[in-house]
Symmetry: C2
Subunit: 148 residues, 2 copies
DNA sequence: CACGTTCATATTGCGTGCAATAGGATTGCG
DNA sequence: CGCAATCCTATTGCACGCAATATGAACGTG
């Protein structure tokens, strides 16, 4: 009574991806709990920590994170409410909103310095495997987004 | 000025996973639009199509899909409202709610028979690569969930 | 057979994701 | 310069995810 092998859950790349992504997000929970951050908020800070003195527009962050303003605007307001970033209109172009790390937001980078290693220890794979997997996923994302 | 290489966005497996998973979900959107299904609803139907005559409890579905009742209960109510499943208390154990495919819900399996192939053609990789990636992700999920 | 414990699902609250739309700023073309 | 097209962000609406809690059913021990 198989008949529809293409629908078998465990054969589907999409399902493995969906499940792994949520498992990863859950794994970050306990590591971020002290700071009150969610995983998407943490990722947003990763983008800002890259060059701490440099304000980023909502659009730049969205392009970097593959998120739109409908997600970022409220997320950034929460980061601002927690005191980790400030939001202000760009004087040179009043359409843009610039997001800047605060001292507290930058300080989080030190408080969370051990997080990547802690996650790495939960992956059950060698760093080289993780990097290979990461590169395959990045390629996959590019293919999926090219089909739009 | 690097200083924190462990925080580089493009070095993070978690971010590649997060981005790829959302890209995959978006890729399903147009393919499911005709049926009114979301991707999580589609995955739930995959679990039910496996053995169409067999009712599944909310708990069984949750274990299979790695989702809890907070997600599944409203999702299943929407599937029921669309006429694709029915929900009823198990007479043998009134705590349990049994989810059963309707005729329409089963018919979707034929209407969507081409979807897996359509997705496969967007992945930019050979089937064997996709299967290998899927298996790595499944292993990763197991490792992440073992650390709970 | 009472009754405390465990189990299965539902509800609540909050934070995403994302499509669709709105609203104000800037740009470019005539 | 005027103004339509474009750009950028915000808002709205809906559907997840998931932790925490509630509710009612079933079970187990005395």
């Amino acid at each position: 009574m198989a008949g529809y092998p293409q629908f078998e859950l465990d054969h589907q790349l999409c399902f493995a991806l969906y499940t792994a992504s949520r498992a990863m997000t859950r794994a970050y929970g306990p590591l971020l709990a002290d700071t009150g951050l969610t995983y998407p908020q943490y990722v947003t800070l990763l983008a800002l920590w890259r060059d701490p003195g440099q304000p980023r527009s909502v659009g730049e962050l969205g392009e970097r994170l593959h998120l739109d303003s409908g997600t970022l605007t409220p997320l950034l307001k929460r980061l601002a409410a927690m005191g980790y970033v400030t939001r202000s209109r760009d004087a040179a172009d009043e359409r843009r909103v610039l997001v800047t790390l605060t001292t507290d937001g930058l300080a989080l980078r030190d408080r969370l310095a051990a997080v990547p290693m802690a996650i790495a220890s939960c992956l059950g794979m060698a760093p080289s495997e993780g990097m290979a997997l990461r590169d395959q996923l990045t390629t996959l994302t590019a293919s999926l987004e090219a089909t739009r």
